[in-house]
Subunit: 138 residues, 4 copies
């Protein structure tokens, strides 16, 4: 992972005000993958007290974007084309994690997927799975 990619990834997370306002943190990344987390606060909940689907989608979208960004040449960036998220279980837990992975990186399009997990009783449980396509932009 060269310096250019390192700074692109940091910029993607630091300059995205919405990501900052939710408290989403970049944990780690490498060629074709990215890991993040967010501490659950009441402000992130929906009407039943679970983490709002929109938070899980935001986390998945930005983390898949981070994974995709590790695969583009210097001077290029990525933007989401579409994202589908399946909600496997209610989002219950103090900390939500996401790992995004690149399935296929083309010159113009990058296909990714993301697994959103929480910790329950000392084990990681998957609560959502995302499938997202991104476009490479200059």
């Amino acid at each position: 992972m060269d310096d250019a990619k390192d700074s692109l990834l940091k910029r993607i997370f630091e300059r995205a005000k919405f990501v900052q306002s939710l408290g989403i943190e970049l944990i780690a990344f490498g060629d074709g993958w990215c890991e993040t987390r967010v501490a659950v606060t009441p402000a992130l909940e929906q009407q039943h007290g679970y983490v709002h689907a929109g938070v899980l989608m935001t986390l998945a979208d930005h983390t898949c974007g981070g994974a995709a960004a590790t695969m583009v040449p210097e001077g290029q960036d990525v933007i989401t084309v579409e994202n589908k998220v399946s909600f496997l279980r209610p989002g219950i837990g103090a900390m939500v994690y996401c790992r995004g992975e690149v399935l296929r990186a083309g010159k113009r399009l990058i296909f990714t997927e993301g697994a959103v997990t929480v910790e329950r009783d000392g084990e990681r449980v998957i609560v959502a799975k995302a499938s997202s396509t991104l476009a490479v932009i200059s």
Copy 2:
């Protein structure tokens, strides 16, 4: 639209803290549809200065949920099963609107779609389109 549905819709929006913290407002609703809006603030932006995909997904998810909730019997509620959002154009505009509509309401599953629009030069332009399935819960 009877009182029970009226109060369910209001509860879905008022009690969802994440929706409140983003400033999403319920504008109107009827049998099988729901309309919302959110005023864009810097806290909702991503790294290029557009509205973050996560905001558009949250707005679409909650509005589709609102539309679905207009179709369930009293005492029942809805929860998102999956949601796919396509990003047709960059989210640029001072106010973002969403209209969610029910395509088909079954006893156990409700299929919806949502159009996310912004106002540009006095015209409504579609920036995202969502396709979401919800489950009916007690």
Copy 3:
């Protein structure tokens, strides 16, 4: 609709052997839309006697592709990036129809959606809804 587009559309349907082998017919098309149909035969059914989801997906995919192809400059073509299909009702009927429409045509990507309908008791009923992204290729 100029001659180049007319011949592109016809080629897309005539040269696709899988589409021919299913009996899918091009009915009509114009700028940004395309309509098709397929007569249901036992060979298109699944184990419960309904039209197989794969038939509905094939019909939706090819019709959305047809709609997208009406929007590209001469000498260019389209290829499916991803396609999501929601199955609203069982596919029951003697003839299945699809109308594909372009939501947004960019230089590199075209966003489409498709409604799959059947005729029941003299009325058109929607049985599936597709949301598909296509890439423009040379």
Copy 4:
């Protein structure tokens, strides 16, 4: 894997005429997974000579359905709610394989995903990835 599941899986493949007419074969299955394949013939191609997206979607849909069917109690069955397929590479190869896996099996809904691969130069290459939700029916 008890006899009831064994016969459910075989029935799902043998009685689905569309699956039979395409030549899709059930290779193997176990709790939460299912593997299939289809030999590519000219009748399965699209206009550029690749395997048609509809074939890949049909294969993915039926294989995800097979994986889901391994998780339901005796006397129950599954039906597709929605399916999204991303096309990572052109479908080129003499034999197409699919492995479907269950991500989460609830009482009413089963979430699955499927990887579609081909053999090229002695290696398996992924050409499509599916994410599909199924409903449990009696």
